[in-house]
Symmetry: none
Subunit: 120 residues, 4 copies
Amino acid sequence: MLILNYRDARPIYQQIKDGLRKLILTGAIAPDEKLPSVRALATELAINPNTIQRAYAELESEGAIYSVAGKGSFAAPINEAAAVRKEELYAQLRATVQELRDLGVTDEEIAEKIKGGKGL
Amino acid sequence: MLILNYRDARPIYQQIKDGLRKLILTGAIAPDEKLPSVRALATELAINPNTIQRAYAELESEGAIYSVAGKGSFAAPINEAAAVRKEELYAQLRATVQELRDLGVTDEEIAEKIKGGKGL
Amino acid sequence: MLILNYRDARPIYQQIKDGLRKLILTGAIAPDEKLPSVRALATELAINPNTIQRAYAELESEGAIYSVAGKGSFAAPINEAAAVRKEELYAQLRATVQELRDLGVTDEEIAEKIKGGKGL
Amino acid sequence: MLILNYRDARPIYQQIKDGLRKLILTGAIAPDEKLPSVRALATELAINPNTIQRAYAELESEGAIYSVAGKGSFAAPINEAAAVRKEELYAQLRATVQELRDLGVTDEEIAEKIKGGKGL
DNA sequence: GTGGTCTAGACCACG
DNA sequence: GTGGTCTAGACCACA
């Protein structure tokens, strides 16, 4: 379900956050579906429960999941969290495009590259 | 010439790298133009020379500058370095666009956002 | 009668306490009216009887309900319980208002916000 | 500077967050002023550095402070964070006032209580 | 059993 | 020395 890459520059808890967020926002994990427990996921990934705990806590604070003590953690309805994430992505997009323009790349070339990556 | 922002999430040496790279790739620093010495820049920015040293070393390893022992550091010809940087940016662009697509954003909406940010 | 919200930050037993207290103090449940039995309410809300038990026990200790062995639990006369609750709310009100003042908000602005929320 | 209360219902990291936030938003700690280091504060309060670390991390994510690895943590300019905090307080104010109204308290009585607490 | 908090101690990146 | 990440292990509140 989740793949950790220890050579990745991102810390482990961040990889978990990104992975779960993607699964939730794309609907691979349905709204209100139960996520694996902190301890279960820690065992499965062979890492410390505190690391999972941190990932879950941050996902909750950004609205992607909700946790109930004694019950478990659950995927949140997509709406709010998706909007937040989209804004982040748009900001990143603008920054990247701006730097490409500074390097003399035209908007047409950029649009071409985007279409070219369609099959990814 | 360079502006450091301590509230920026990026570490200082990274801000220096990004700043110098941009000045070089956009031509603001001409090819083969001499860069300030490590000690001079450290004094000007009021930071540790080790930090400048690291930025210069990494810029050299990615081909944006070259150093001549006893003479100083100089901006490299743009061609190779720019191509490398463009590929990085394209890769990032593809990743961002792909995630937006996963969230259900159409290519038309993405293109719209890029044009919208034209004035930035 | 009672609505549980698992996305609420408050634990279940607390939501039950708050919900019942409100029903009693506003008169929606009349004084001396019988409350549903622990088991009945647990079944209706599909939760653990221990959770209901805890809510009832704490409501009794704060004087909002009273229990008669073998008969069940009943809403208490409003007077005392309401006074206690009002004092709690006033204390919270004062703390919130004080912090707003510390942030430079004037009493007029605060009063305005209260009136503005009238329709809630 | 900060007082911890182990009998307080709030967890320690939360008490630290609330205390520092108040000091910053009221100007007791000036913008860009350096906060005590994670380790120093941990020693002073006789608690684990991880607990301080958590408080600082959350304050940074809500915009009240900013941290620079290798340099320290600093109070952020007041503007943004204050607005966020005010909204939280207004929301809490509305909820409290609404419950008082449900108990039959008139807006006049509420306003009276607020003025009464003026000297706090 | 589940999430949440805390401690003790370690290692790394940064300046 | 500073912040940031991670581990190991413990205890508590909740259901």
